[in-house]
């Protein structure tokens, strides 16, 4: 049927097209448009939501690591137990192990409970003693060894509570779960509540988490990041000294001096490929070259620093070359025109003008290196280290003492059985993220402040 027929019969209204009244096809196209737009918005939303979920989950589990439950009790340092000979000889005092001190702590706690009139039905003396962390004995022992005159006196000590008791105040352990848990009983939790009522059990900010070294599997409450932070600092110093120097020198050569030939082509392709090589491959390189071939020590921050330097070099070189490229040729030409050599015009004029860009790139490279884990696993930085590594020692040289690193410590803690370590791992990530945010903020600030556009 044609339009002419329709108008003649007059029975069917003429379907007129109007801009104001969209027809079916336009409607379809418009809704397709709206849908497409919604998909885009949803994609952005999913991305942001993922970020929020990630942060909430990490901060939610990790914030507990910054608080710790401590118990303050008077400890009677029983001379008969701690110094049998009574001569305060340090060599003899050292023979009493932490097990001996744990006994002293248990007795002191039970005496104190009896004296305060705290009684919990069905709680044995032994179980009562277990609300104190195993680490506490070492704390008291160190205090006594530092000052042997304390023996025989009664001193107030602020000691770590057991990880489960700590977990009770952080919601990880409840009366119900304690029933099923072999490591804690509801009676112990009642005792903790009774002590808390009297103000003897307190939850305080956990400085030890940032300072103390790692602790063994049975005492999550004592585990800290001290060694890991120190190790990360040493590694970052190594990277900070080596990577920018080598990276900037390489970029200056490639950008300003290199002739266009096959050799420089190879270098360029190489650098862009190195930037995309998986980080674990750099770990294999470190293991094979630095440890197996050059005979450097496994777990040493210097090895980690060297590996991370090689890893961040491509990032720094790419950023530096971009910064050098952004400096207009007129600057170089002006220098050359005034009789400067090419090296002088680059070093005295181009490089200072490119400095903000170079610095930003370097900081971003450093931030990347700080969070890198996989290569460090291969060069042995997962080892359990309790000794603070010295920056220099005659036997192992600069940054040569075994240590761990922040991200590796996180990995290490995720491999432990006790759920309290999950909280520690998340706490360590919060520390790591704070460092990263600070570094990136500096980078952004530098860019805002000094970036120049020609």
């Amino acid at each position: 049927m044609t339009d002419a027929n329709m108008s003649k019969s007059g029975a069917v209204p003429v379907p007129r097209k109007s801009l104001l009244q969209p027809d079916a096809r336009t409607k379809r196209r418009n809704s397709a448009e709206a849908r497409f737009r919604a998909y885009g918005l949803a994609a952005v939303g999913i991305g942001v939501l993922a970020l929020v979920m990630l942060l909430v989950s990490i901060v939610g589990t990790g914030s507990g690591a910054f608080k710790q439950t401590y118990l303050t009790i008077p400890v009677h340092l029983n001379e008969a137990k701690l110094d049998k000979k009574g001569d305060r000889e340090l060599a003899n005092l050292k023979k009493v192990t932490t097990i001996g001190y744990a006994g002293v702590l248990k007795t002191s706690l039970n005496d104190f409970l009896a004296q305060e009139g705290i009684e919990i039905d069905g709680l044995s003396d032994k179980d009562a003693g277990k609300i104190i962390s195993k680490e506490a004995a070492a704390t008291v022992r160190n205090a006594v060894l530092a000052d042997p005159d304390l023996i025989g006196t009664t001193q107030d000590f602020t000691l770590l509570a057991n990880g489960r008791i700590d977990g009770y105040y952080k919601g990880r352990v409840t009366m119900d779960s304690a029933e099923l848990d072999g490591n804690v009983t509801p009676e112990q939790l009642m005792l903790a509540d009774a002590l808390k009522e009297r103000g003897l059990l307190k939850t305080k900010f956990n400085w030890a988490f940032l300072i103390a070294p790692d602790a063994s599997d049975q005492r999550p409450e004592a585990a800290g990041l001290g060694v890991a932070i120190l190790g990360s600092i040493y590694m970052m110093l190594t990277v900070l000294i080596l990577a920018p120097v080598i990276g900037v020198a390489a970029s200056i050569y490639l950008e300003e001096f290199a002739p266009k030939n096959r050799w420089t082509d190879i270098i360029e392709v190489n650098i862009s490929n190195l930037a995309a090589v998986p980080s674990i491959v750099f770990g294999i390189l470190g293991l094979a070259i630095f440890i197996n071939f050059a005979g450097m020590r496994a777990s040493a921050p210097i090895v980690g620093g060297l590996v991370l330097t090689l890893m961040t070099l491509p990032t720094i070189i790419i950023a530096t070359r971009a910064a050098l490229k952004a400096v207009p040729p007129s600057i170089r030409d002006a220098g050359l025109g005034l009789g400067a050599s090419k090296m002088q015009s680059v070093m005295h004029h181009v490089l200072p003008l490119a400095a903000p860009g170079i610095l930003t790139g370097t900081i971003i490279g450093l931030a990347q290196a700080l969070g890198e884990t996989a290569p460090l696993l291969l060069i042995g930085m997962v080892a359990f280290v309790r000794e603070y590594p010295a920056a220099w020692s005659p036997e192992s040289g600069l940054f040569g003492e075994p240590s761990t690193a922040l991200p590796v410590q996180v990995f290490n803690w995720t491999q432990r059985a006790d759920p309290a370590f999950v909280e520690r791992a998340s706490g360590a990530i919060i520390v790591l993220l704070i460092f990263l945010v600070a570094m990136n903020a500096v980078a952004v600030m530098l860019r805002r402040r000094f970036e120049r556009r020609w």
């Binding site: 994609a43 952005v44 991305g47 970020l51 990276g247 390489a250 491959v281 884990t373 996180v410 790591l432």
Partner: protein, 412 residues
């Protein structure tokens, strides 16, 4: 004299040489016009003392380590005593030679700059040394591995069962399957989300939304992978297990292909989106205007004009993302599990995304951490795995570069 001491002496000679050079030019006849400033005379003396001696020192260190490690090749007796003295002599000779040449006419600036150029070239070559180091170290150990274990069984073996007491089955196929499966899931998550986010941010979003959302998504790229790994372990894994795997009867494990794949997908979103964003922005406005002028809606323009024009770049970005996914370690270590795919227990177990599965990178980590015996094939296999991984990612990167270069439209 030890090597370390000789190197310290070289440093001292260089520093002292710098000042001597300056003093010497200052002592020359002031009425003659000097070609170079005093600082270049000093610098030239220092670098002439430093560069050749250091080069010799480094070269000898290398040769010494090679001799120490190989059986067939030993250094003659007394090298350790002799070489430090040679290094020292070279440094002194350089300093004296440079000092002797100082005169007002001497072109010290040109000489010093030549030395600086040498140092710059050396720095640029470190990238090459790194690559050579990577390839050499893996090739050597892989060679050792294949002398103990048949390469056919490695590349075509369907079982991964290392046993440090011997009789291991070290087939790469189960690991390769796990790697590719997890990467596939990651890409299925990341590519549509990343692409749509890029399209929205570059074509639809106003400046305000863009200013907030773009940095937020890019923050995802700056988060270390260990953080994603922990996220997979403590949040995503248990959630998937409780709400999907267990009700559907597909598995009891928190670590699974799905867990690792999803989290890795999130990690790759900013990677895909920022690369695609750049590429979409590079499509000239005139093409959009032409399409809109013919009556196409905005989404039709994007689908039929912008995306096809940007396609080579987008494909390149996807290939790069795939290379990232294959080489990613920490997320799979914490999220995917340690058990290799069991080809022998049927198709169901191998394709079930809620089953724990392991990847090449996970096995590199597990074979090389802890007490390792570098003579055992169970350790050496890690280098063969590493080489395979390196070749795979390198291939993807080169392919990505090739696709971008070959099919890129030039809009100038």
């Amino acid at each position: 004299m030890s090597l370390a001491l000789s190197f310290i002496c070289v440093l001292v000679i260089s520093v002292v040489g710098y000042f001597f050079g300056r003093l010497r030019i200052a002592a020359t006849d002031g009425s003659v016009r000097r070609h170079s400033r005093a600082v270049y005379h000093g610098l030239n003396t220092a670098l002439t003392a430093f560069v050749p001696a250091t080069a010799l020192f480094l070269a000898y260190m290398m040769v010494r380590q090679v001799a120490l490690k190989s059986d067939g090749f030993t250094l003659p007796e007394g090298m350790d005593v002799g070489v430090p003295w040679v290094v020292l002599a070279l440094s002194l000779a350089g300093a004296i030679l440079a000092l002797a040449r100082i005169s007002p006419e001497y072109r010290a600036r040109n000489a010093a700059e030549r030395w600086i150029l040498v140092l710059l070239i050396f720095s640029a070559s470190i990238a090459i040394f790194t690559t050579v180091g990577i390839v050499m170290s893996m090739l050597l150990e892989t060679g050792n591995f294949f002398s103990q274990y048949s390469w056919k069984e490695f590349f075509f073996g369907v079982t991964w069962a290392p046993d440090f007491r011997g009789d291991s089955e070290l087939g790469i196929l189960p690991l390769l399957w796990g790697t590719l499966y997890i990467s596939l899931i990651a890409l299925v998550v990341a590519v549509p989300i990343g692409l749509f986010a890029a399209i929205y941010l570059s074509e639809y979003a106003g400046p305000k939304i863009r200013a907030v959302a773009k940095p937020l998504i890019e923050v995802l790229a700056g988060i270390p992978t260990i953080v994603y790994g922990l996220f997979a372990l403590i949040t995503v894994g248990p959630m998937l297990r409780d709400y999907f795997a267990q009700p559907m009867g597909l598995g009891e494990s928190g670590s699974s292909v799905m867990t690792a794949g999803l989290v890795m997908g999130v990690m790759l979103i900013p990677f895909v989106s920022s690369l695609s964003d750049d590429i979409i922005n590079a499509v000239p406005q005139a093409m959009r205007d032409g399409s809109l002028g013919l009556g196409a809606t905005k989404s039709e323009t994007i689908k039929q004009v912008v995306v096809p024009a940007a396609l080579p770049g987008i494909v390149g970005a996807i290939l790069l993302a795939a290379s990232r996914a294959i080489g990613e370690t920490m997320i799979v270590v914490l999220g995917a599990g340690a058990a290799a795919a069991q080809f022998k227990s049927g198709v169901g177990a191998v394709v079930n995304p809620f089953e724990a599965m392991t990847t090449i990178t996970v096995k590199i980590v597990s074979q090389l951490t802890g007490d390792t015996d570098f003579a055992a094939p169970e350790t050496l296999v890690a280098f063969a795995l590493g080489l395979t991984l390196f070749v795979f990612t390198l291939g993807l990167n080169v392919l990505a570069l090739y696709v971008v270069r070959k099919y890129r439209e030039q809009y100038e």
